[in-house]
């Protein structure tokens, strides 16, 4: 299913999405910003942990907050969730200025990176308590807790003490706690940290549902770039406290270094593949990486890629198929988010 991102005007493949995601994206594009961050800076003495951060977020968006360790992601989330107050700058959430932190807290849900849990409490008790802290009376707090336990897949373990929960279960409980007040903006700081692949997939699906079905804005801080590619509509890359890049995933990828396809063919077909790729449309250069094993790379012209949608795979594949070269594997180099990320952060380091 295709998801349309209004800000870029490009169509991107989003496997696993559905019409609701598309509709949500459309609504998101047209809706007013629910979170406006305006030159926010947070200093700890001489150290500026976050410097001059500005962005907007709309309902239903999932914004990935990327950055190396110490980039300021957690500090940014703590400022926007009112745990810390900004040194300079301002932000509004749902129209509420940051000078009213109590009112802002009513609108947000947060899963902190280092979330601890009272191990002697049960999951249900924990959620009931937090529902009460958000103003729900006792009866509706019980109902909310029960409902959320079902939503995050902990219904059968709700009456067990949190001490018996696995890491993944505690993370899901944390997400449930972040939803207890039906927030309009949700901050998730490393939600998949420590989870196994299955747990990560479940968490990402939950995040997509939260944004898509509830229309909540999700700010997702993570190290895992494939998560960002999978669920995020926009990305902000932080480095040393500063936002060094912002845009859709596709936009960020396009800022990566060379658009190169790495191809593996049978060694006896190496030369044939080399010739075919040299003649393929848009190819600026073809290199033989390992002739004996059949590895080649084809680097495309940037201007040609911009003109033709930025995806060089089809042209290279077509060229090899046309000459009946067997393709053992191919890989897009330089078009990955990780490449863009490394490139951008290295630039920042320089």
């Amino acid at each position: 299913m295709l998801a349309f991102y209004a800000d870029s005007g490009k169509m991107e493949v989003n496997p696993g999405g559905d019409q609701t995601d598309t509709a949500a994206a459309v609504r998101s594009a047209k809706a007013e910003a629910v979170l406006r961050v305006d030159h926010v800076t947070k200093s700890f003495g001489p150290l500026e942990a976050v410097r001059d951060l500005s962005f907007e977020a709309r309902p239903g968006e999932i914004i990935g907050l990327l950055g190396p360790n110490g980039a300021g992601k957690t500090t940014a989330i703590r400022v926007l969730s009112t745990i810390l107050s900004p040194t300079r700058g301002r932000f509004t959430l749902g129209g509420i200025p940051h000078t009213k932190p109590g009112a802002i807290r009513q609108q947000i849900g947060v899963l902190p990176e280092s979330a601890g849990y009272p191990l002697h409490q049960t999951g249900a008790e924990f959620l009931r308590y937090h529902a009460r802290l958000f103003g729900h009376p006792a009866r509706s707090a019980r109902e909310i807790a029960a409902s959320l336990l079902v939503e995050v897949g902990l219904a059968e373990r709700g009456s067990s003490s949190i001490a018996t929960y696995s890491r993944g279960m505690r993370q899901r409980l944390g997400v449930a706690r972040a939803l207890v007040n039906t927030p309009s903006v949700i901050f998730l700081d490393e939600p998949t940290l420590g989870l196994d692949p299955a747990g990560q997939r479940q968490m990402l699906a939950l995040i997509r549902d939260v944004a898509g079905q509830r229309g909540a804005t999700v700010i997702l801080s993570t190290h895992f770039l494939d998560e960002v590619e999978e669920v995020c509509s926009r990305v902000i890359i932080l480095n040393r406290g500063e936002a060094i890049a912002e845009g859709s995933v596709a936009d960020i990828k396009r800022r990566a270094a060379p658009r190169t396809v790495r191809v593996h063919v049978p060694p006896e077909m190496h030369d044939e593949a080399l010739s075919a790729l040299t003649q393929a449309q848009g190819v600026a250069r073809v290199d033989s990486i390992d002739k004996e094993r059949g590895w080649l790379t084809a680097t495309f012209d940037s201007a040609w890629l911009d003109e033709h949608g930025g995806v060089p795979i089809n042209s290279a594949i077509r060229a090899l198929i046309d000459v009946d070269v067997l393709i053992l594997s191919f890989e897009l180099e330089g078009g990955r988010l990780s490449d863009a990320f490394l490139s951008l952060t290295e630039e920042g380091r320089r």
Binding site: R105, Q107, H130, G135, A205, D209, G215
Partner: protein, 271 residues
């Protein structure tokens, strides 16, 4: 995977700050203390201690080694000391302990005002005192002190204990809010208590000693109980000895009220 309700994407949060956030916090903290092992273990151990002391005291009383009033005084003073110390330690653990267990952040992310969080935690911290005093009542009664002495002993003990508990539990909460380390919070709070408790072990006589005894809330309170029980003075006769405990309670509560508003994820004043 999920079946989240499909609702208007412009959902507004239905949440608001609870009308009595301090009560919600206090109830949960009380549950944590009394439905877990912490509170019951302390109270049970205290009852065993009083049972042992009462039995020994009764034996000695029969042998005339110790006077009846001294026996009652000993039970009340021990109850005071343990009740105040435990409340102090609960107060000292209540915020810095949550910091170390990393559960404080989720509490700070709620719309409950910081002061109300502090108040709720303080109420839970002092909850052990009335329970200990209640446990001590049958022991005081059974020492056959007589109706007049029993009533005065219980009232004097309860009044002094309540004032000192309010003062020291508040001190514990203040230190806990300001400290990043739970160990430091507990040690510093207990140290202050021991420093103020130490003079009760030495005779404070003469003009200087008498004034020290009156200024120090612990010695003043201890002396008040002693004079009511042992010397058989009336409660009103020694009211001046309650000045220091009252002042200590008022000051500590006031400072806690101010400091609680600065409750942050990291210890110290807002950075």
């Amino acid at each position: 995977m999920t079946s989240l309700a499909r609702s208007d994407y412009r959902l507004r949060s239905a949440a608001k700050a609870p009308a009595y956030g301090w009560l919600v916090v206090a109830v949960q903290e009380l549950r944590d203390i009394w439905l877990s092992w912490r509170g019951p273990i302390i109270v049970f151990a205290f009852s065993l201690l009083l049972s042992l002391l009462t039995y020994l005291a009764a034996t000695n009383k029969e042998l005339n080694i110790i006077d009846q009033r001294d026996t009652v005084n000993m039970v009340v003073q021990i109850t005071l000391g343990i009740g105040v110390a435990v409340s102090l330690l609960f107060g000292a653990d209540t915020v810095s302990g949550e910091r170390e267990r990393e559960t404080l952040e989720s509490l700070l992310l709620t719309p409950v005002p910081r002061r109300q969080i502090g108040l709720g935690k303080l109420l839970a911290a002092v909850s052990v005192w009335p329970v200990l005093m209640l446990v001590a009542v049958p022991y005081v009664w059974t020492l056959k002190a007589g109706p007049g002495l029993f009533a005065n002993a219980v009232v004097a003990g309860f009044v002094v204990g309540s004032l000192l508990t309010a003062a020291f539990a508040s001190l514990g909460v203040i230190v806990s809010i300001l400290s990043n380390s739970n160990r430091l919070s507990l040690a510093a709070s207990f140290f202050v208590f021991v420093v103020l408790l130490a003079p009760t072990r030495i005779p404070l006589t003469g003009w200087f000693g008498d004034h020290i005894a009156r200024i120090n809330p612990v010695t003043a309170g201890s002396r008040f109980v002693d004079r009511v029980i042992v010397t058989n003075h009336s409660l009103g006769q020694e009211w001046t000895l309650l000045i220091a405990p009252v002042v200590a309670a008022v000051i500590a509560l006031a400072v806690a009220f101010v400091v609680a508003d600065r409750l942050r994820l990291q210890g110290g004043i807002d950075r």
